[in-house]
Symmetry: C2
Amino acid sequence: MTEITLLNKHKLFNGEQRRYQHYSHFNHCNMTFSIYLPSRALQGYALPVIYCLAGLTCTDENFSIKSGAQRFAAEWGIVLVMPDTSPRGAEVANADSYSLGQGAGFYLNATQQPWAQHYQMYDYVVTELPELIEKHFPVTSQRSLCGHSMGGHGALMIALKNPQRYLTASAFAPIAHPMNSAWGKEAFSTYLGNNQAEWAAYDSTELIQLYPPSLPILIDQGSVDEFYPEQLHPQDFIVAAKSKGANIRYHLREHYDHSYYFVSTFIESHISFHAEAFGL
Amino acid sequence: MTEITLLNKHKLFNGEQRRYQHYSHFNHCNMTFSIYLPSRALQGYALPVIYCLAGLTCTDENFSIKSGAQRFAAEWGIVLVMPDTSPRGAEVANADSYSLGQGAGFYLNATQQPWAQHYQMYDYVVTELPELIEKHFPVTSQRSLCGHSMGGHGALMIALKNPQRYLTASAFAPIAHPMNSAWGKEAFSTYLGNNQAEWAAYDSTELIQLYPPSLPILIDQGSVDEFYPEQLHPQDFIVAAKSKGANIRYHLREHYDHSYYFVSTFIESHISFHAEAFGL
């Protein structure tokens, strides 16, 4: 009856990087997540949490291994949670495309078959995983979201839909207007069907016009990111956000691309941004 | 007649992470290396270089992606060069073991067939690659070595054999006494044959007794590293080094393991150690 099973752990910046598996009642399959616990959490002190959402093709390990975030989480005393990007397993529907199916859950609740059976990543990330984290680890109810690419879409979209649950959201190269991108159209039509009103419920640029957020948002975008012109459209989100008076900081970073090298360069400023909102 | 071919580049900490391919005249095959150039190098200022040697199964990318070293190389103004760990290719001899053949060159010059044809990693790392780097990039003749596991063996061994070429050496969890480890015995007998006098020429614990170094050496070792008791034997090296009055700093890090999470925790101190020797 173990609810979460430890797969491995590594001491890191005087804290611990751990990987767990558990059964997800929303996704109807086993899910894996990683968590970074600073030393103070290991001593039992409750700390705030940043949920770190990864992009297409990623697992919980990409952000864990490549972002360098733990150095700053250790300094500030913040727990990091890295979820997987989709349900996984032989019994879980999949697609031949890297931008659909396993590794490409888009942080939404699918309504179309065969996807609806397992692809309930919105409920998983917003409800089920935080309940597990808050039950098993010393964390406060202070939560924020950070994401990269598809995970940037997830971070912005989830924060806009749940401003009472999150203090801040930050994104690297987010798919900020998925209804205006080939990736988003493919995913939304496949997972949600053809009713574009349902798509808009997961589109940050649409959402921010309906629910102008009070929470601060930070976005970094690389200027030579190959996906910037066609897939990401952060400028659509920024224009919509500014028209609603939202609290947005946006940086277009000259000559940076879409990789984790870009993320690792600016992760310190994102962790500091969340730390400030946590009152650290 | 391009001597080195750029495979890709990424802006990183205001400098560039690049990956190159070139033909190696020692290894008789194409080799790949990665290099991190801080912004001042991109502006043409000559900077010192740390050669970063990776461990078993690694390529030039493991240290590049996982160590977090570039943040501190950028701060100090140091070029990092990440070589591959062996010759590669369909025409290059290989073995079924992860600790032999491609990915396991042990930074030596093989004398036994079929290995001798391509496995000339000692000459490659000591001579050929620095010549290429010093020809194509703005670097000074200040060089140092840093390595992890098999790469820690390489860093210590190469520095001890070439104290005039390197200012410092540092190692994470080095195979510090390969003649006393299963990995080392397997590699040395396969690549060098059965004459143990030839093995000793590549064994840091043997070398330091013959050539007590004046250059400073830094070693970090995790206390729960699964390879520490049987394969690494840093204590053999430390005892030999101290008996010769060598300038060694050794840290046994409680509860750290063999992974790059351990490396990334202490990489800042290693880069600072080299920076001090460079006079930065």
